[in-house]
């Protein structure tokens, strides 16, 4: 039977679609702005009104990864022709690549190192938070734990304090124990930060898995650990994926502690990117290129896990 819609319903429907559309524009504009600026030559990055149609260029990305200096006089044709394409792009913008005086090697900018730090720290801390969280949640879900509710509340309460409040004492402690500006330092910090979240979300998911499945495996001759790996983990995959995405996003985007706890060796991308605004006239298209690349991992990670996430977002509803 065809559904008959009243005029009122039709109007409401259209209004809802329009509202979603407006919301989308509001949310996607900054992303569009970053992405388009990242492909603009420097001269077009700050025009007013903004340039909408332009020939995209990779110059900002070429610049992003190397140290450069302003050229006083144009480069001679012979050097220009001998240079690789990305170096020519930089020459075109009136800058030259800084090279080591003796070896002639190019000097990289700090971007790639910071990016690598971000990846290492986010991935490891996410892995730790999710795996520890899953095991803890399993324990709370399946065994009688004395004072279970108090423990769970305590775990949650670690998130009630705004992290910035403890920033100074943390800074001093990290200095004292030598964790300042180390990868390990940030990994510990982010793991601790995400753990409570991970425990709570995973407990919800594991509670939903009928314990009969594991118990059947136990009776069938499997050990508790084998039953956990063979039965619980596959069933909890959706929850694990959802939790991992959240933890990764939080670790990847974290700014305040990264700014305070690191300066060179273990610095992540978030505090580094704005620091490049500092000297001279900011090169907005290079900053946009840095920000654009920074957006990619979260987007890719989320995209890869999208099937799990869609089901995972309806927390716990794993079975049809």
């Amino acid at each position: 039977m065809a559904e008959v819609k009243t005029t009122r319903e039709v109007v409401m429907n259209r209004a809802a679609i329009a509202a979603v559309f407006v919301a989308l524009i509001v949310m996607l504009t900054p992303i569009y702005w970053i992405a388009s600026t990242a492909f603009k030559p420097r001269s077009l990055a700050t025009t007013a009104p903004p340039t909408v149609f332009f020939e995209p260029t990779l110059t900002p990305f070429a610049k992003l990864f190397v140290r450069r200096s302003q050229m006083r006089e144009p480069v001679d044709q012979e050097t220009y022709d001998a240079a690789p394409w990305w170096e020519q792009l930089i020459y075109d913008d009136g800058e030259s690549v800084v090279r080591n005086r003796r070896s002639g090697e190019i000097t990289p900018s700090g971007y790639w190192d910071r990016y690598k730090n971000s990846l290492i720290i986010s991935i490891i801390s996410t892995f730790l938070a999710v795996s520890m969280g899953t095991l803890t949640a399993y324990g709370f879900s399946r065994f009688k734990v004395k004072g279970e509710n108090d423990w769970l509340f305590f775990i949650l309460s670690t998130r009630m304090l705004p992290p910035v409040v403890v920033a100074i004492p943390m800074f001093l402690m990290y200095r004292a124990v030598g964790l300042h500006d180390t990868h390990l330092g940030l990994i510990i910090l982010y793991t601790a930060f995400n753990l409570s979240f991970s425990v709570w979300i995973m407990k919800g998911f594991i509670d939903e898995i009928p314990r009969e499945y594991e118990e059947a495996a136990l009776v069938d001759g499997y050990t508790r650990l084998q039953a956990f790996i063979k039965i619980v983990l596959p069933e909890a995959l959706t929850g694990i994926a959802a939790t991992a995405v959240f933890c990764f996003i939080i670790a990847w985007n974290e700014y305040a502690f990264a700014l305070m706890m690191t300066n060179r060796n273990a610095q992540t991308a978030p505090p580094y990117i704005p620091s490049q605004v500092g000297s001279g006239l900011p090169d907005w298209s290079v900053i946009a290129a840095g920000a654009f690349l920074f957006l990619l991992p979260v987007a890719i990670f989320t995209f890869l896990l999208r099937n799990h996430l869609l089901r995972g977002m309806s927390f716990g509803a794993i079975r049809k």
């Binding site: 009969e212 118990e215 059947a216 136990l218 009776v219 069938d220 001759g221 050990t223």
Partner: protein, 354 residues
């Protein structure tokens, strides 16, 4: 194959005692049915044997050995549940192989294939082997669950209401198959149910459980004909046993002003009694002492089941299908004296049990 024993087992969950001083023996090769209502402790009893619950007191023995400290894996029993006993991610074959694949078992692939094949043949699920579990009907699922239990050739089969989620037809045919399977394997079965028809039709022996306590153990006919108390009398039989309050004087029962004969030497005494008589031991005939009003008639083809109002008491009587009665008709009834039981009205105990 094995004998299973409970010795004074008590299991607590916080304030509630799910099993109270339970003592019970299931003999080797027996089909034992534990009958009880929801919450009676049936599941808890099974889980205690499987090693999924640890009783606070008493011990569970398998073949005379106290298995209190054994893990579930070591006990070598199989458990079939009402639901959730198949892994949704695996195919039927995967599910049947699963119990054969724990690291400790070290079974060869040939042996695994052979056993799966045989179990599938026995249960007629060979055509389902490569199907995903979620595509099975309820009856097929329970067949596979039973298959999962038999591939391992365990010492004891524990079944927790495996048929109660199925529709009546299927339940009946699986009942027959399970009995046949038991016969073929000769293994010890402990089967749990709240359905008295299931219990009566399947059990070699029945144990009636009430609030964690064992009320009576016996063969189906023991339980049916000599219930230990009014609880058991009401629990088995459909319609249940008629229970009528009255007193005994000599060889006559005084019920609400009428007098019916009882067997000579009937246990009773002078105190308040409850008389018990099965519907099929009720007799409707002209001139019988009792008088009742027909409340309802259920025609079952071969017989009719009448509901009768005798004063405040609702009675049931089964009569041949040819009997002509109408609703609200007044009929006269008696009973077969040798079939009458007497219970203590206060304790409910069957007075024939010394």
């Amino acid at each position: 194959m094995a004998r299973v024993e409970f010795k004074n087992v008590t299991k607590r969950f916080g304030g509630t005692r799910a099993l109270k001083d339970l003592t019970l023996t299931v003999e080797d090769g027996e089909f034992f049915v534990l009958l009880g209502r929801t919450g009676a402790g049936k599941t808890t009893a099974l889980r205690s044997i499987a090693g999924l619950e640890k009783p606070e007191e008493g011990s569970v023995l398998i073949d005379g050995v106290d298995v209190g400290d054994w893990t579930a894996a070591e006990r070598d029993v199989a458990l079939v549940l009402q639901q959730y006993s198949l892994y949704p991610r695996l195919t039927v074959r995967g599910n049947l192989e699963f119990p054969l694949r724990p690291k400790g078992r070290r079974m060869s692939e040939d042996e695994i294939a052979r056993r799966v094949e045989r179990a599938a043949n026995t249960l007629q699920i060979t055509h389902l082997l490569d199907r995903k579990v979620e595509r099975l009907s309820g009856g097929e699922m329970q067949r596979v669950s039973i298959g999962r239990a038999i591939v391992r050739e365990p010492r004891v089969f524990l079944m927790d209401e495996p048929l109660s989620a199925l529709d009546a037809k299927l339940r009946e045919s699986l009942r027959v198959e399970l009995k046949a399977l038991h016969h073929e394997l000769g293994a010890t079965f402990l089967f749990v149910t709240h359905d008295q028809v299931e219990a009566m039709s399947m059990g070699d022996k029945i144990g009636v459980l009430r609030s964690g306590r064992l009320v009576q153990v016996g063969t189906p006919s023991d339980i049916y004909e000599r219930p230990a108390n009014t609880f058991v009398a009401r629990s088995v039989g459909s319609p249940p046993m008629n229970l009528i309050e009255g007193t005994l004087s000599g060889s006559a029962a005084n019920l609400n002003g009428i007098s019916l004969p009882v067997a000579i030497g009937m246990a009773g005494g002078a105190g308040p009694l409850t008389f018990g008589v099965r519907p099929e031991a009720m007799v409707l005939e002209q001139g019988a002492p009792g008088e009742a009003r027909v409340f309802d008639i259920e025609d079952q083809g071969v017989i009719k089941i009448l509901s009768l109002d005798f004063g405040e008491t609702r009675l049931h009587a089964t009569v041949p299908a040819g009997t002509h009665v109408k609703r609200d008709e007044i009929v006269r009834f008696g009973w077969k004296p040798e079939k009458v039981l007497t219970f203590d009205r206060n304790t409910g105990r069957n007075l024939a049990f010394a």
